[in-house]
């Protein structure tokens, strides 16, 4: 099981700020594909990812209990 946090546009697309994904045996890229299919999220290839608050990349493998944040282009400041 992994927890997925959604922000900004993605939060609005999904209608929620977090999701629980029952399995964890996958890469970030696979998770993104699954979310695009299941939740209709778009442009995930253009989205940064953090695992447990550390930036990572699409090849990273998830572990049970991870918190994955999908981070659209930031615009603070």
């Amino acid at each position: 099981m992994v927890k997925v946090l959604l922000f900004a546009r993605l939060q609005e697309e999904a209608g929620t700020d977090s999701l629980t994904v029952p399995q964890s045996d996958m890469s970030v890229a696979e998770l993104k594909q699954w979310l695009e299919k299941e939740y209709g999220l778009t442009s995930l290839s253009n989205t940064m990812t953090a695992i447990n608050e550390n930036y990572t990349d699409d090849s990273a493998l998830l572990s049970e209990g991870d918190t994955v944040a999908l981070i659209p282009p930031v615009s603070g400041g």
Binding site: A8, N54, P72, V74, G76
Partner: protein
């Protein structure tokens, strides 16, 4: 307690003076601050208000990461950064960056570096409310997914 955090995401209006006080030291001769304020017009288009959202815990962590980068590049510099979230009206302050340094050159350079890095790696999002709709700023552009210097898996941040 909260007032003393040098890297803070808050829903409250920001007191620039409070942020400055966090960096004042006897060995400093120069303090620079940057305030990002809500501008009414951007390329002729009127902003009604802004809304900032953050991944709060990670955003504060990334601000502390930026501080580490700054300390490596400009030894002897002290920084404090507060970013506000929630709804902001025109002229309200979204972010305050304070930098103190024995000498002024480093205080200017480090301050400008910090705002550039915030715009690259800190998970905060700005939603513009126009008269005719809303925009998540940044997201509508084609951007490189990982800006230069965003920590990579296996780097010292991992």
């Amino acid at each position: 307690m909260t007032e003393k955090k040098r890297f803070l995401i808050t829903e409250e209006p920001i007191s620039t003076e409070d942020v400055i006080q966090k960096v004042i030291r006897r060995e400093c001769g120069a303090v620079t601050t940057f305030m990002g304020t809500v501008r009414e017009f951007t390329q002729g288009k009127q902003t009604i208000r802004l809304e900032y959202h953050a991944y709060k815990s990670m955003a504060e962590k990334m601000l502390a990461e930026i501080d580490k980068e700054v300390s490596n590049k400009w030894p002897g510099v002290t920084t404090a950064i507060t970013h506000r979230v929630g709804t902001l009206e025109i002229t309200e302050t979204a972010v305050v960056i304070a930098v103190s340094s024995p000498h002024r050159k480093a205080a200017y350079e480090a301050n400008e570096y910090i705002i550039e890095r915030i715009k690259q790696i800190v998970p905060i999002w700005k939603k513009e409310y126009w008269e005719d709709g809303t925009t998540w700023v940044g997201d509508q552009l084609e951007k490189v997914p990982y800006p230069e210097g965003a920590p990579q898996k296996g780097a010292h941040h991992g």
